[in-house]
């Protein structure tokens, strides 16, 4: 059977499959950034962390033969990047956005430098679970072939949503993000909390990178990310710093990203390149639609430098 046999149904199916496949890095990066931003800091360097994570995971997987060790190594590398960002930002007069941009370039550059020898060899893939076994249509099977990291990401979103209200750590992150003064009055050190929050955010972004190189697209190249780390940061803002919102927005982006290839596969030959731009156009539209010139963003952490 081929695409023409299920006709135009192939498009929504491909979008669904794409949403699940493409969204995973968005989920991890945006959840990580949500944690960091809830603590009152913004880390734009996650793009660099994502690329470096992808390279690290791929390299470790090639050398050890275990993709899971690769994921672990990527998380570790991401943690280091996050902690570095958090550590620099504690000094007076340091701007978190500027440091983020520097780390973005630094992370990518470092990844290209160390990653050169790993462009050729191939690494083992991360396992996926076939939820489409009940169907004999290959498109359905392909769409429902779900990677384990996607499921972990979904569970993590749910967990963070719960944890922000029901755990001590969650409340502390929110306190620090909303009012440094209140945090200090409680005897908390905002810098320490932000350091840890940025570290965890970096680790999650590293895992997002591991997914890129070890599952989809599944190889290490220098153009592996194409700005996904930056888009995920924007995504956090219109998800209103809500982990469940991040998850939903990541799916939406994944789906939009799959629109171009899906249309191409059902034989639309003209203008499908335009649909490759769908996620970016979507970003613009949602940003414009959800903001207002006379009102500040609802739900923004009070200490965040971009919304202050």
């Amino acid at each position: 059977m081929d695409a023409t046999e299920i006709g135009l149904w192939g498009v929504p199916l491909a979008i669904l499959g794409g949403a699940i496949r493409v969204s995973t890095p968005f989920i991890f990066v945006s959840l990580g950034e949500a944690i960091t931003e809830r603590s009152g800091r913004i880390n734009l360097g996650l793009e660099g962390t994502l690329v470096f994570g992808a390279m690290t995971a791929y390299a470790v997987a090639v050398v050890t033969g275990s993709p899971w060790l690769g994921v672990l190594a990527a998380a570790g590398a991401g943690l280091c990047f996050g902690l570095f960002h958090g550590w620099i930002c504690k000094f007076r007069g340091v701007n978190d956005i500027a440091i983020g941009i520097a780390l973005m370039l630094f992370g990518s550059g470092l990844a290209f430098f160390f990653g050169k020898p790993f462009i050729q060899p191939s690494a083992p893939d991360l396992p996926a679970i076939a939820f489409g076994g009940w169907s004999n249509i290959p498109q359905v099977q392909a769409a429902l072939n779900v990677n384990v990291l996607f499921l972990i990401g979904a569970a993590l979103a749910l967990f963070l949503w719960w944890a922000f209200r029901n755990t001590r750590a969650g409340l502390i992150v929110r306190v620090v993000g909303d009012s440094s003064d209140a945090a200090r009055a409680m005897g908390l050190n905002p810098n320490t909390v932000r350091l840890l929050a940025t570290g965890v955010g970096g680790a999650l972004a590293g895992i997002g990178g591991a997914y890129l190189s070890l599952y989809y697209p599944g190889s290490w190249t220098e153009r592996i990310s194409s700005g996904q780390g930056l888009m995920a940061v924007a995504l956090v803002i219109f998800a209103r710093w809500n982990p469940l919102g991040c998850f939903a927005a990541a799916l939406l982006f994944g789906g939009a990203g799959a629109l171009g290839p899906a249309l191409q596969s059902v034989g639309v030959t003209q203008g499908y390149y335009l649909f490759y731009a769908a996620p970016y156009i979507l970003t613009l539209i949602i940003m414009i639609a959800t903001s207002s010139p006379s009102r500040s963003l609802a739900g923004a952490p009070g200490e965040l430098s971009i919304t202050k």
Binding site: R165, N166, T167, R168, A169, L171, I172, R174, V175, D178, S179, D181, A182, A185, M186, G187, S292, S294, R295, S296, G299, P301, G302
Partner: protein, 510 residues
């Protein structure tokens, strides 16, 4: 759980408390005694050492010399943690609650020991039980950002009690409350001292509050103890004398009657503008201010006064309505302000009316730097003219500054306000718009600034005065409006004004 046991009130004493910052002595040998279960007021001007004393007591500062006694036993307080372990707590002037958390979340997270995973069902039950013993009723499931100022202040106090504190320092606790709310909060706190559950040390400026609620007072001036005694045995005049010593206080000009045919200077008609959340809007039906009168606008902060002022100052776009000055439409452009003689003194002048890092001279020349003697625009600016002009005003308005070339941010609050007044009140003034001109200033600066405003009025300026200080409005205004929920809800001529009625309208009870 520490929160459920309210300890009995403790008494606190300081002996010879001294604090030096380098060569500067902020606090000089101050001994005060606050017996258990008493309501003690600490009076003094800005910079008199009140907050230094309190910070030494609470462990924020380490005093250069002096001892603390709690329940007549000597204690060492090296940090705020030590203070809270002894049951000493402080309610700050600004709120320390986290706005995006609910009341319950705020209370639980401020506790010393919080479990890793919070069992909300259990916590809610414990909180409900705790709140039953509190004199305050508060909604705990609402985000703190959505609470009214009075409720926030109550929650701050409740938080301290929840944490098991039995000696509370209240730092100007009523500065953000309506008269009604202030009465209620202080009344409830005083009841708790009467039953012996709490000891209170309140920092205050307001004599009438001190007289109504406190048992004893201590007065500081320039870091020294200048008086102490029972409230029942002291008059306001005696308290004021202890506070300010023998420095002269500028007297208010007597109020010249508003001439019958005074022309209308400012007219505002059905003005609509969005407020800062964008969810509500302000709606000023009709407001006019005549030459030679002061029209006061009262209201709790956050009821649209700031937005109204921003519209008048051209900082906020309006959706509909007219603003006329002397009959011609006014859009707050520089040329309109110049030809119509409109002057503006916003609140927090350093932030809203100055460029903090530019010099005193430059800041004072903002209105005139690009004009020559004949009032025509010039292309080349002469620094010497700016300096001469500023030197004249500095002398005339008694601005204390190290030099004309120092940045204006190095001046004290009172002197920044004097500099801004000098700039705005020099030349012809037909309309003067003023907002909270005396916030945070000391006695003599307040008296002087009010006298200047009154002088401008008597010289024929129309003055629109917005203030959160009702006493100030009652002292200066000819007519008072109350702004509540974005609209002017009440108007009264000064002769018939009553604090009670105005307070009720401020709280929106009509």
């Amino acid at each position: 759980m520490s929160g459920t046991i309210v300890k009995k009130a403790v008494g606190v004493e300081t002996i010879g408390m001294t604090m030096r910052f380098g060569a500067f002595t902020a606090l000089d040998d101050v001994s005060i005694k606050v017996p258990a279960g008493s309501f003690h007021a600490l009076l003094g001007e800005n910079g008199a050492g009140k907050s230094t004393l309190v910070k030494c007591m609470m462990g924020f500062y380490r005093p250069t010399a002096g001892d603390m006694l709690v329940d007549a036993r000597e204690v060492a307080i090296a940090s705020p943690k030590d203070a809270s372990a002894l049951g000493l707590g402080m309610v700050y002037q600004h709120f320390t609650l986290v706005p995006s958390l609910t009341g319950a979340e705020n209370l639980v997270i401020s506790r010393e020991k919080v479990p890793g995973v919070i069992d909300w069902r259990k916590e809610r039950a414990a909180l409900a039980q705790f709140m039953q013993r509190m004199p305050f009723k508060l909604p705990l499931d609402v985000k703190v950002a959505e609470l009214a100022a009075g409720e926030k202040q109550k929650l701050e106090i409740v938080k301290q009690l929840y944490l098991g504190r039995s000696f509370l320092v209240l730092d100007e606790p009523t500065s953000v409350l309506t008269p009604g709310e202030a009465q209620e909060v202080l009344g409830l706190v005083r009841d708790m001292t009467r039953t012996g559950d709490l000891t209170v040390l309140m920092i205050s400026h307001k004599f009438h509050e001190v007289t109504a609620f406190a048992d004893d007072i201590t007065v500081l001036r320039k870091g020294r103890l200048t008086g102490t005694g029972k409230v029942s045995e002291l008059s306001h005049k005696q308290m004021a004398a202890m506070m300010i010593g023998d420095q002269p206080i500028a007297a208010l000009d007597s109020r010249a009657p508003v001439p019958a045919g005074a022309r209308q200077v400012l007219t505002v008609k059905s003005l609509k503008a969005p407020d800062r959340t964008g969810l509500k809007s302000i709606d000023i039906g009709e407001l006019d201010v005549k030459s030679g009168e002061i029209v006061g606008i009262a209201g709790i902060s956050g009821n649209g006064q700031k937005e109204f002022l921003e519209v008048l100052a051209g900082q906020r776009a309006r959706n509909a309505g007219d603003v006329l000055v002397k009959g011609s439409p006014y859009g707050a452009s520089r040329s309109e302000a110049r030809t119509l003689n409109v002057r503006f003194i916003p609140e927090e002048p350093l932030r809203n009316a100055c460029a903090p890092r530019m010099t005193v001279a430059e800041n004072m020349a903002f209105r005139t730097f690009d004009l020559n003697e004949a009032g025509k625009p010039v292309n080349w600016i002469r620094m010497s003219a700016i300096r001469d002009y500023a030197a004249r005003l500095v002398e005339q308005f008694k601005v204390k500054t190290a030099s004309l070339a120092s940045p204006i941010s190095s001046l004290s609050g009172g002197n920044v306000q004097r500099a801004v007044l000098a700039r705005e009140l020099t030349g012809e003034v037909d309309l003067l718009i003023v907002s909270n001109p005396c916030f945070g200033l000391d006695f003599s600066a307040v008296a002087e600034i009010r006298a200047r405003i009154m002088k401008a009025r008597n010289a024929g300026a129309a003055v629109l005065l917005m203030s959160e200080d009702l006493d100030e409005l009652l002292e200066l205004s000819d007519r008072i409006f109350v702004m509540s929920d974005g609209a002017l809800v009440y108007e009264t001529p000064i002769a018939q004004a009553s604090v009670q009625t105005i307070g009720e309208h401020m709280a929106g009870h009509h």
